[in-house]
Symmetry: C2
Subunit: 242 residues, 2 copies
């Protein structure tokens, strides 16, 4: 790599790439927070804003891809710089998906609000807040290139998965007791699943922060605690009923 203005240009482009990916993370976090306000606090006026705001994240992902190709072609970064470009591409893809899920939650929330008997939306509060914090912290871990913070985010995903499995059972029981709530609860189940998947994407981001700093993805398989796909609830036999 040459000296002088080439190095300065390279540094400026790397900073721009990093700032763009950071923006994606911050916007994704804000989108998710707003989507949760739509569901949990009924702030319906935010729903359209979340749906419209998703296009910005999509555009930023395209920009990251184009910037990465340009950087790789013209600057031929090496070692950690090269890993940063590759990790940024991967992280941008995950942030884009997080934005998609936030949009989906906001859309469904608008539908829920129209139902005569709203389902128990507060059950999403804990999971939602946990995942907002994961997205925030993993974006900071990327900016600060802090693998310890990244691993801490990754380790929290197990709790989110476990909360999702518990909520899945709870909502299924609720639907069986109140079949008029099936529609609403189904949307709530999908929102909970979206939150759980956002946790997975934050985990992927965390793994790429480790790759960026250390040159290797964390090896050991994270223990997956989402057991909802194994969950069966059969309707309780009522001994008084025939």
């Amino acid at each position: 790599m040459a000296i002088g203005h080439t190095v300065a240009a390279f540094d400026a482009e790397m900073r721009e790439l990093q700032a763009t990916v950071e923006s994606m993370g911050r916007i994704a976090e804000r989108q998710l927070e707003m989507a949760l306000k739509v569901v949990i606090d009924g702030e319906l006026q935010l729903a359209d804003q979340v749906v419209a705001g998703d296009a910005e994240i999509d555009q930023l992902e395209h920009r990251v891809q184009m910037m990465a190709v340009r950087l790789l072609a013209l600057r031929q970064p090496m070692a950690r710089d090269l890993r940063e470009v590759v990790a940024s591409l991967k992280i941008a893809g995950n942030m884009e998906r997080i934005g998609d899920f936030a949009r989906g939650i906001a859309r469904r929330a608008a539908v829920l609000a129209d139902l005569p008997t709203p389902p128990p939306v507060r059950s999403l509060t804990w999971m939602g807040q946990s995942v907002v914090t994961m997205v925030r912290d993993v974006t900071t871990a990327y900016v600060k290139q802090d693998p310890d913070l990244a691993m801490a985010v990754r380790n929290r995903d197990g709790e989110v998965d476990a909360a999702y499995t518990a909520l899945f059972r709870e909502l299924l029981t609720y639907m069986m007791e109140s079949p008029q709530q099936i529609g609403g609860c189904t949307h709530l189940l999908f929102m909970a699943k979206a939150i759980e998947r956002i946790g997975d994407h934050a985990t992927n981001v965390a793994e790429n922060v480790c790759f960026l700093v250390k040159g290797a993805l964390p090896g050991e398989e994270r223990i997956k605690q989402d057991l909802s796909s194994f969950t069966v609830l059969t309707r309780k036999e009522d001994p008084n009923e025939g």
Copy 2:
């Protein structure tokens, strides 16, 4: 770029990268096909195989990332070669997700099979077959670097989204009529959603094939026909009932 054995080594590494991503696509397709056999044809003995097989796709994704970094560092590919490396990274990420969804479908299918009254699993047939074909064709589009085939795959995703929305309504009605089926139908809804998302990932792959060949991602926003997040079904008022 030097001549002779350097060029030969570069070509060999590019072919290896491409072959690894192709393998991911072929395995993802096979995993998805097996997962559908578990659900639709009740071939339960395949479920464990699908769950175990997912680790292979995950490992291949790691390998693609390491190969891409190595190629970028040592060979400094340019123009279309560079785009191929970047697109391969992105495509590998999408194939990995497709594998995850196939595993999820297989797991849920094993649960469904234990239910006393199985839900209408055949309703997934059309969507499932469409998406298997999308994954197959988009892998071929990547290998042949054929943007027309890629765009054809992308255009088919609208039908899958529309089928998903129709199925969502159908299953909701079914659950309201037969509350003892709520558990089974919920798993079926999540399987349908997984199939719909696999279609989205195949679409992302298609867009990256276009990027690889043409240097730009397809610009116009694909029309999203998954309207299930707007779907509300309230329980029919029975005029004979009080």
